[in-house]
């Protein structure tokens, strides 16, 4: 007997209904979670609590110069050395594996939120990631953001919502929101990926085993071409006017101006080639030129280390990170090259 159209509709409707069964599970998993501070990104966001110690640290040091950034900053600048040996009282909010969303919250909630008014705040970034609010915002990196986010972050949420307006993002988000599949997926994914490590190494040694596994696939162990590909900027993100509108950059500049704090954005040089500095694609060159003009028009400083002949390949350790042996020298040169911002 052939399937009737009614029976077909029954099968299809049932198939479409089943995923909604995840929603109670999602609610159960997030029963004790605080309301999301980024509802446009994840309505069921589970977060780590706000950590006031970063602000307290700043208040203790009372720096005139503050550095914000990720491991690019961490492998280049030594704020203690800058304070003690060069006489520029400095501190930083440095967190590896972060992007512009973190840097924005660091400026708003940690630096300005601590009540301090440093003379200059330096923000370190690579290529286009200053205007890419989604950079390092996925769940595996988001815990760092949680530590400096308040219960509500409407401006950041609005930027993320705007960024997600294009394409099918709203549909994807709506499906995740309606079914709760995002939160169940994260839990299930984490459990599944952890299971082999637990089975092989045992529950008590799983952390050490994961670290050893990560070392096996570390950047310095990659084939040279793969490493080079990973370091190439995605040209799709290099339309500056379009990227600016869905980024936290205007809000950072507005905040700094409102609090009479000078902002200086520092583009680090990526890993040089053996025979010279890294080469920017034409799209990236246009992007950087537009960024420079926009920052100048809006009263913010900008310094680009790309192409600086002082920083050759032997300064670098892995990828775009510099070797620990260069930090003090880099810090000294930084103070010289950006002297106007230390006045």
């Amino acid at each position: 007997m052939q399937t009737s159209r009614l029976e077909l509709a029954f099968v299809v409707l049932l198939a479409l209904t089943v995923p909604f069964g995840l929603r109670p599970l999602a609610s159960q998993l997030t029963r004790d979670a605080a309301p999301s501070y980024l509802p446009s990104l994840d309505p069921f966001l589970e977060r780590a609590p706000f950590d006031p110690s970063l602000g307290e640290q700043l208040r203790r040091v009372r720096p005139h110069y503050v550095f914000i950034g990720d491991s690019m900053l961490g492998s280049r600048i030594d704020p203690q050395y800058l304070s003690d040996r060069l006489g520029y009282r400095s501190w930083w909010v440095m967190q590896p594996g972060t992007g512009s969303a973190y840097w924005y919250l660091a400026l708003k909630n940690v630096v300005l939120g601590s009540g301090l008014r440093p003379k200059t705040v330096f923000v370190f970034f690579r290529d286009e990631n200053l205007t890419d609010v989604m950079f390092r915002l996925d769940p595996s990196y988001r815990w760092a953001l949680d530590r400096i986010a308040h219960d509500r972050e409407p401006e950041l949420d609005a930027v993320i919502a705007k960024r997600q307006l294009g394409g099918w993002h709203p549909v994807h988000r709506a499906i995740e929101r309606l079914t709760g599949s995002g939160v169940v997926g994260r839990r299930a994914d984490a459990w599944l990926r952890r299971l082999p490590s637990r089975l092989v190494a045992g529950d008590d040694k799983v952390e050490a085993f994961d670290k050893e596994m990560n070392d096996l696939f570390a950047f310095e162990r990659l084939r040279p071409r793969v490493a080079a590909d990973m370091a190439t900027a995605d040209d799709d993100k290099l339309d500056f006017p379009r990227a600016l509108g869905a980024s936290v950059l205007p809000e950072m500049v507005r905040l700094a101006r409102a609090h009479d704090v000078r902002l200086c954005f520092v583009r680090v040089q990526r890993r040089p080639r053996p025979d010279g500095p890294p080469v920017d694609s034409p799209a990236l060159q246009r992007y950087i030129a537009d960024l420079r003009t926009w920052l100048a028009d809006n009263g913010a400083g900008f310094h680009d280390f790309t192409g600086d002949p002082d920083y050759t390949l032997d300064w670098y350790k892995d990828g775009d990170h510099m070797g620990g042996w260069t930090r003090r020298r880099y810090t000294e040169l930084f103070a010289v090259k950006l002297a106007p911002f230390f006045r």
């Binding site: 099968v11 082999p196 040279p224």
Partner: protein
């Protein structure tokens, strides 16, 4: 346009809704336009290639029939146009580079020229499909068609256009020409195929693909990590490619077409010959019918038969990609088949049934060795991989290899369950509902809806966050 995008979901729903409201001729015109939109979605200039191939083959076939005395010339034109296009877009740089290497090795001056050529997706698939039409007309097995729209729809039918199955004109053209009726039965089984295909692609292939990518990105992986990566790739390529075929077959059923089965549990094969009867069936049979048999097949003595097998598999390797590692992979499988044929010739004993699990395991291992050749693009690294031994492996290499293999196994579990089910248990009977309109039938239908829903939920929960293109797009 790619299947695993919401663009495609919307496209499918719009085209489907319009399609069943139209009379037959208009349906074909709509399918043609939709297929061209599908193909030219990202690079509209690709359409020029498919139009060129279709036009040449349409007229070549007609002139063959109108002027039989010169049919060889027209077949030659069709072959030259299709293979020439394929050769230029897919192999130009490969051949130029290989010639330069040979010249340099011989101590002669050579300048390396690299052409800025973008490989159009699916070119290997639609050119082979189009060629099946002209060759069949040449052989007198098929009549040349008068309707350009029908021929063009056959060449470009969107569900299977970019990654197969490579349909034969004799199977698909009559379906294009004949009246089609909406069948809820076909749509129901099609929906299940689509759901299973998406699950295989987004959950299994994309997740284990990340493992393979990680391993093959490392400069010097140890023995255990390397083979865990190869295993992951073996699962990825099967899940990925068979997913495309399943989605293609499922989508086609909603439009009233039946496409051929392209994969039949290949990892349960017991011998090289059986593997190729189960893996990428549409390509294997294409090479059998259009290359192996015209070369003489097994009719001209053992040496010629074995040479024909090697020729077919070297060409098949080259079809997959413009790199010597693909040729090596094809040659490897050719040698396996040659070995099997020689073994059968001199040891004409059938293996006892109890040996089957060992045969399956052995064949699985042999296929994985082939996947190392297929996945590794660098000949130096390939040689390193093939000569690695487990002796002296570090404890972390053993543990990491085991952990990666376990993770691959976890993702591949649904594939194994489905394979065992379809191979030895219920098989296709699963798709047949009880005949009478009884509560059992309702429960059975509910079970199918539930199964599709669980696949859908599984996709939402376990899908890889890094979705990749279908692997076979690059071929």
């Amino acid at each position: 346009m790619i299947f695993h995008s919401l663009d495609f979901v919307l496209f499918f729903l719009v085209v489907l809704t319009a399609y069943w409201r139209l009379p037959h001729r208009a349906q074909n015109r709509l399918l043609l336009v939709a297929s061209y939109v599908f193909y030219g979605w990202v690079h509209p200039w690709f359409l020029g290639l498919i139009l060129f191939s279709t036009t040449v083959d349409y007229w070549a076939a007609r002139w063959m029939e109108d002027d039989p005395a010169r049919r060889k010339v027209y077949l030659g034109a069709s072959l030259a146009a299709n293979l020439g296009m394929l050769g230029y877009f897919k192999y130009a740089n490969f051949f130029a580079d290989s010639i330069a290497t040979i010249l340099e090795a011989a101590g002669l001056p050579a300048s390396r020229v690299t052409l800025d050529v973008t490989l159009p997706v699916g070119i290997s698939f639609f050119t082979f499909q189009a060629l099946s039409y002209t060759v069949d007309v040449y052989r007198g097995q098929l009549r040349a068609r008068r309707s350009f729209v029908d021929v063009a729809t056959f060449v470009a039918l969107f569900p299977q256009l970019v990654a197969g199955p490579i349909e034969r004109a004799s199977a698909l053209l009559p379906q294009v020409e004949g009246e089609r009726r909406f069948s809820a039965d076909a749509a129901r089984t099609g929906a299940l195929l689509i759901a299973w295909g998406y699950f295989k692609k987004l959950v299994i292939a994309d997740n284990v693909g990340l493992i393979a990518d990680k391993v093959f990105a490392v400069e010097a992986p140890g023995f255990h990590v390397l083979w865990a990566g190869v295993l992951a790739f073996g699962i990825q390529i099967f899940a990925d490619f068979s997913a495309y075929s399943d989605i293609a077959r499922g989508v086609a059923r909603w439009f009233g077409f039946e496409l051929m089965v392209n994969f039949d549990n290949p990892y349960f094969a017991r011998s090289p010959q059986e593997f190729w009867r189960r893996w990428h069936i549409s390509l294997s049979t294409w090479f059998r019918d259009y290359v192996y048999i015209p070369l003489g097949g097994s009719r001209r003595g053992l040496p010629r038969e074995l040479a024909n097998v090697m020729m077919v598999f070297l060409l098949s390797g080259l079809w997959h990609g413009a790199n010597w590692t693909f040729v090596l992979w094809g040659g490897y499988h050719g040698l396996l088949l040659v070995g099997q044929r020689l073994f059968r010739r001199f040891v004409p004993v059938r293996a006892p049934a109890w040996l089957a699990p060992l045969q399956i395991a052995g064949m699985f291992v042999l296929v994985q060795v082939g996947w190392l050749m297929f996945r590794e693009q660098d000949v130096r690294m390939l040689l390193r991989g093939l000569t690695l031994t487990p002796a002296g492996a570090s404890p972390i290499d053993v543990q990491a290899g085991l952990a990666l293999a376990l993770l691959t196994g976890l993702y591949a579990l649904p594939l194994v369950v489905q394979g065992i089910w379809s191979e030895w248990l219920a098989g296709p009977r699963l798709l047949e509902p009880p005949r009478a309109r009884t509560p059992v039938r309702v429960a059975w239908l509910a079970g199918q809806g539930l199964l599709a829903g669980l696949l859908f939920a599984g996709i939402l929960v376990f899908r890889s966050r890094a979705s990749m293109d279908f692997i076979y797009f690059q071929f």
